[in-house]
């Protein structure tokens, strides 16, 4: 049994039930909500199928270097978020706070880079429209969940979490992983295939 599970043995039955419920709910939500992103991917692929070439003739392809750097930063943020979660489970607050700040910083850098890409893509009908819809939809999720992570950071600085009671950190981390997974799917469709 992991240290976290051992620590949770000290909780009451009702508290353990509530924690189990929250964990199951986040998993179900992730499995459900990824389907919206799958829908947008299907839309992208179906639109592409209606054109002889993609990008369509006369349309410049997407720039790849900056988005790839942003993606690398996003993947690194996963490492730091998980490091932060592991740290608070051991009540190592300095490592939790520094890791969490790094995760937020990398996430913010990702959003800024992709916002720049969003603004600078040339209007070219379906090609730019579907690109913008996908990026914007993902960005909304990144911003909302990023805001949750900032809240967690503020509460963490005020001493809110400990080895047993750290659901806020766990929940925010799991939602952030969802944002990253969704982006990886989008990155593959937009920039690789």
């Amino acid at each position: 049994m992991s240290n976290q599970r051992i620590a949770e043995q000290s909780l009451s039955r009702a508290e353990r039930q509530a924690l189990a419920n929250k964990r199951t709910a986040i998993s179900v939500f992730q499995i459900s909500w990824i389907m919206v992103f799958v829908c947008l991917i299907v839309v992208n692929l179906q639109i592409r199928g209606n054109f002889p070439t993609w990008p369509p003739a006369g349309v410049d392809g997407l720039e790849r270097i900056l988005p790839t750097v942003a993606t690398a930063g996003l993947l690194a943020s996963v490492f730091f978020a998980q490091r932060g979660l592991n740290a608070i489970r051991k009540e190592d607050r300095p490592v939790f706070l520094s890791s969490w700040r790094a995760a937020i910083g990398l996430g913010a850098a990702f959003v800024l880079i992709m916002a720049f890409e969003w603004v600078s893509v040339q209007f070219s009908g379906q090609f730019s429209d579907i690109f913008r819809v996908m990026i914007a939809y993902h960005a909304i999720h990144a911003l909302v969940i990023g805001y949750m992570m900032v809240n967690v950071l503020n509460k963490g600085r005020a001493g809110a979490y400990n080895a047993v009671d750290n659901w806020g950190v766990e929940g925010a981390a799991k939602l952030w992983y969802f944002v990253v997974v969704a982006w990886i799917l989008f990155y593959v469709v937009l920039y690789i295939i």
């Binding site: 419920n21 199951t24 709910a25 919206v36 947008l40 299907v42 054109f51 379906q126």
Partner: protein, 571 residues
């Protein structure tokens, strides 16, 4: 597994105060209140959608346009009829049954997330308001299927409100489904494995799985529709490089599984009602439970059968095959239900009558569905009244009959009183006859070539349409028999007691209505929720009577003592 075999020490018949009316009109996190809120709100929208249906049938009494101002007004009529019935009646009322019953059937104090439960419900009234506001902005007229280019280029601003309202309703649905899945997974009592759960709970789980996987697709499609309408994108406009088939694929990927969202909980209700009212164990419990999951899974593979006439020809065959395969798990259920009632001690209560009505009518709908699954047949009957007939046989003959069975069955548990059985039987016969003569002839006019969604039709169809419309008016009137009965019984119905049907599922092992946290003490589930006719089940039922007082028996004027000597079959 513990079984109650004698009264608990110190127990006396228990009464609990009924919730006050104002508790149902405001925010509450009690799943029982929320369940009733869902049901009553949905009933209100059922009446609204039903009124629109009566207007449709009035218009179709003659082959010319005489009631509606023009074709657009008629388009709005059937658009809003279907939208209200699907999104504001059937889906929410079944969610209401789930909300009220699932925690009780699992012996839980409430759902996993009571606040989220309330939030999910309170998304519904604003969505209904948005839809009604559409009448003041140029109402949506593209059908509930909202196909572009009509929905993107030619429909009034009400179409935008329609898309926003469906967004809200989809969110409500998803949040409710997450709640159900978590509650069932984590909050079953000790000793209740998945295969000891009532079949209604299985049905709700299967429905919830469909909701969480399919509804987000609708969200994606509606977002693009809204962008086409308000932001100048051209996703569904061929002139701008878009594709109308794109909408059809995205829409039906949700909307075909949606029909299983609308019928699976009704299947669960039927499993409960048939077993209790024939005093027999369910035949094929695992088959029924697992077939619900099979329907949920296979339901995602059939969507393009709604598009046979617009689909690439090579894809028709695979979708025809999957659309026929999906009849198999439903067929397993139907035969299991027949096996359940066969040789049973059938009590023809109103609930049972509607359940039997469901069996007959849903099978007809299912058969017409398999006919439509055959591409050569569908090519000719697509967009005719044959399809209208099929969908109403499965949705009204299936889901609505199941809902009525559920109301009659669980009304005592919700209110503490029995509905009037004589009125219930009048309701049933009016509904059954009115329904059959409204929708069966539509198979015929459809095969004769009458298109759907038209106010002006060829004169040779008029005599059939007159028969259909008169029967529809009878069906409309039958609804009021039910409503009057439901309202009058609140104050005049006989006190039901805890378990008037002598059922074995856990919701009957508490007072009617249940107290604030559902059970007094820890509930003890009976080892087999359908194990009628055994010494142990008799002892369990006796113990409930001892604890909560002897319940009223239906069709008698006074409460009668439960038999104490010889067991009768199915006791």
């Amino acid at each position: 597994m513990a079984t109650i075999t004698r009264p608990l020490p110190g127990s006396l018949p228990v009464t609990v105060p009924h919730p006050r009316l104002n508790e149902y009109l405001r925010w509450s996190v009690d799943h029982k209140i929320i369940g009733v809120q869902y049901m009553v709100t949905a009933l209100f929208f059922f009446l609204f959608g039903g009124t629109l249906a009566m207007l449709i049938r009035w218009e179709l009494l003659t082959p010319t346009l005489d009631l509606m101002a023009d074709g657009s007004a008629y388009n709005s009529l059937f658009t809003m009829h279907a939208t209200f019935m699907i999104f504001l009646w059937i889906i929410p009322v079944l969610a209401g049954f789930g909300n009220f019953l699932v925690p009780l059937m699992l012996g839980a104090k409430d759902m996993a997330f009571p606040w989220l439960n309330a939030f999910a419900f309170w998304l519904i009234p604003p969505a209904g308001v948005l839809l009604i506001l559409g009448y003041f902005a140029g109402q949506a007229e593209a059908g509930w299927t909202s196909y572009p280019p009509l929905s993107t280029l030619f429909s009034g601003d009400g179409q935008t409100l329609w898309a926003l309202a469906i967004h809200l309703l989809g969110l409500s649905s998803i949040l409710g489904a997450i709640n159900f899945i978590v509650t069932v997974k984590n909050m079953r009592p000790e000793g209740m494995g998945y295969f000891q759960m009532p079949l209604f709970v299985w049905a709700i789980v299967a429905t919830s799985i469909i909701i969480v996987m399919a509804t987000p697709f609708l969200t994606g499609g509606l977002t693009l529709l809204l962008l086409d309408r308000v932001a100048g994108t051209q996703f569904f406009n061929p002139a701008g490089g878009g594709d109308v088939l794109l909408w059809q694929n995205v829409f039906w990927f949700y909307s075909h599984p949606a029909v299983y969202i609308m019928v699976l909980p009704a299947f669960g209700i039927i499993s409960e009602v048939l077993s209790v009212h024939s005093r027999k164990p369910i035949f094929g419990y695992r088959a029924i439970a697992l077939s619900s999951m099979a329907i949920a899974l296979v339901g995602f593979t059939v969507w393009a059968h709604h598009m046979f006439t617009s689909l690439t020809p090579e894809l028709r065959i695979p979708f025809m095959i999957t659309s026929m395969i999906i009849a198999v798990p439903t067929g397993i259920k139907v035969f299991s239900w027949l096996g359940t009632i066969w040789g049973g001690k059938i009590r023809f209560t109103s609930a049972m009558l509607f359940a039997l009505g469901f069996l007959s009518m849903f099978v007809i709908g299912g058969i017409s569905g398999v006919m439509l699954a055959a591409v050569p047949f569908d090519i000719h009957t697509h967009d005719t009244y044959f399809v209208v007939s099929h969908l109403h046989f499965v949705l009204y003959g299936g889901s609505v009959f199941g809902i009525y069975a559920g109301f009659y069955h669980w009304y005592p548990k919700i209110t503490g009183r029995l509905m009037n059985e004589r009125a219930g039987k009048i309701h049933f016969f009016l509904t059954y006859v009115g329904f059959f003569f409204t929708f069966f002839p539509q198979h015929i006019v459809g095969m004769l070539g009458m298109p759907r969604r038209v106010a002006v039709y060829a004169p040779e169809f008029q005599s059939w349409n007159v028969i259909i419309s008169i029967a529809a008016f009878v069906l409309g009137i039958s609804t009021f028999v039910f409503l009057v009965n439901a309202v009058m019984s609140l104050s005049r119905g006989r006190i039901s007691g805890a378990n008037p049907w002598r059922a074995l599922t856990l919701e009957w092992a508490t007072t009617s209505p249940p107290p604030a946290h559902n059970f007094i003490g820890d509930p003890v589930p009976f080892k087999n929720p359908y194990g009628y006719g055994t010494q142990a089940s008799h002892a369990y039922l006796e113990a409930i009577d001892q604890r909560y007082g002897v319940s009223a028996m239906p069709n008698t004027d006074v409460t009668t003592p439960a038999p104490t000597s010889k067991l009768t079959s199915g006791d």
